[in-house]
Amino acid sequence: MSWMFLRDLLSGVNKYSPGIGWIWLAVMFIFRLLVYMVAAEHVWKDEQKEFECNVRQPGCENVCFDYFFPISQVRLWALQLIMVSTPSLLVVLHVAYREGREKRHRKKLYVSPGTMDGGLWYTYLISLIVKTGFEIGFLVLFYKLYGGFSVPYFMQCDLKPCPNTVDCFVSKPTEKTIFILFLVITSCLCIVLNFTELSFLVLKCFIKCCLQKYSKKLKSSVCECHNLRYVKYGEMGAPPLLQKHRLDSAMSTAQEGETKTLMSPVRVEMGRMAVVENCGRLCLSVQSNRKLKKWTPES
């Protein structure tokens, strides 16, 4: 078990991520995982061996090192990488669940198990929120534990068994500061990407809902082309515009109660009639204060 395992797991997430998710994965792999493995790990390799206090008292160095570094920055970095990557697995699990469900029922239940709709959309949203929460949480933890994001080159320690206030020197403080700043910057970049993706998803859903509502309103005032075969005219005759157009099944002048065939039929009640083109054919659009009723041959 090594970082390759995490890499392989996350590679599977790639398939179901939208565009910004792909960028997040690339930043994660290259600017965080790769930098951690090829560079950062080695910087902290000899941190305790090279931690030196200006005293020969046995135990003083150990106690002071433990006090200033309760958990090594590099280990905290590794924990952060793991915790931040795992919410993406929720998406993989959900897709696997969908695929399992389709297999059990032996029929197609979804457009595609990986399509971001329905429950998967919520799962993805939750994974984004959890990821962002972990990122912010770890940054705050880093700041609180080490009093900022820089590593001082010496610290003063007066814990027992140190005989007095002694100077303790950290190894490679500048290099460690540079890598911690790198970690913070990439972390902030990932937070920004997560927020952008979150806003994009929510906005997309909101626009879709609005469009659906609008198109439903529009449909209620437009005739339906393919459902009905007959039309029954009400009190009004055929609109003059219609008479000019040639239809496959010609329309005669409407008389009250007479049933006529139309290409795009609708039962006309009271109200004004307007001719609109729909599906490349003419049909009647009724702007009526009564609800349109579908008239079927059986009724």
Partner: protein, 261 residues
């Protein structure tokens, strides 16, 4: 996660690169990444352990080492290689986006004539033109910028590319001006010069690739302008043939209807 994974990421872009781009990728992975991993890391492995100062004062060695080597050569090279390789991801993203759109249109039934199936879309080599040309050019431009920046940072941090065998240090808690000795300075200098030379070669390759792309575009535009001004003979022949066909069909029609031609 290691250099092999980066190679997999970047290697995928190789298919859509120019020949110079392919040479650049080879130089990067063989003369820089491999040298870094198999040789340079061994040379710098004991850098702090064997950094010795002529004093027993605790902390003096740490402080002096930190002052002269704020960032280790190895780490700086690793960062340089990562930053220099990542602009290729822009191209990879653009290609992935193009393939995604092509697959979407294929599923809708729009591009059935152009591709046989979805696998065909994945295997197709995409030509560097249009918006991809801009993405590719930007990625090369960024590569050059990153190479130059890191070379300058190296020069600025270490006052050149040569490592001295003794350094004088007088920072607290060192009691006075002490001599500090670096481990293996000559070997480190050799590798530093090697890596800088490889960096310069990569930069020259990038500049050559940029010039090649610009020239290609200029030639293409000149050819297009020439074609528009002087349509080629076969186009002229085609238009004449069309005129004749029309005349023949008209006369034939007139013959059928009995009208005089």
């Amino acid at each position: 996660m290691d250099w092999g994974t980066l190679h997999t990421f970047i290697g995928g872009v190789n298919k859509h690169s120019t020949s110079i781009g392919k040479v650049w990728l080879t130089v990067i992975f063989i003369f820089r990444v491999m040298i870094l991993v198999v040789a340079a890391q061994e040379v710098w492995g004991d850098e702090q352990d064997d950094f010795v100062c002529n004093t027993l004062q605790p902390g003096c060695k740490n402080v002096c080492y930190d002052h002269f080597f704020p960032v280790s050569h190895i780490r700086l090279w690793a960062l340089q290689l990562i930053f220099v390789s990542t602009p290729a991801l822009l191209v990879a993203m653009h290609v992935a986006y193009y393939r995604h759109e092509a697959a979407r249109r294929f599923r809708r039934g729009e591009k059935r004539g152009e591709f046989k199936d979805l696998e065909d879309i994945k295997q197709q080599k995409i030509r560097i033109e249009g918006s991809l040309w801009w993405t590719y050019t930007c990625s090369i431009f960024f590569r050059i910028i990153f190479e130059a920046t890191f070379m300058y940072v190296f020069y600025f941090l270490y006052n050149g590319y040569h490592l001295p065998w003794v350094l004088k240090c007088g920072i607290y808690p060192c009691p006075n001006l002490v001599d500090c000795f670096i481990s293996r300075p000559t070997e480190k200098t050799v590798f530093t010069i090697f890596m800088i030379s490889a960096s310069v070669i990569c930069m020259l390759l990038n500049v050559a690739e940029l010039c090649y792309l610009l020239l290609k575009v200029c030639f293409r535009r000149a050819k297009r302008a020439k074609t528009q001004r002087n349509p080629p003979n076969h186009a002229l022949k085609e238009s004449k043939q069309n005129e004749m066909n029309e005349l023949i069909s008209e006369s034939g029609h007139n013959a059928v209807t009995g009208f005089p031609s």
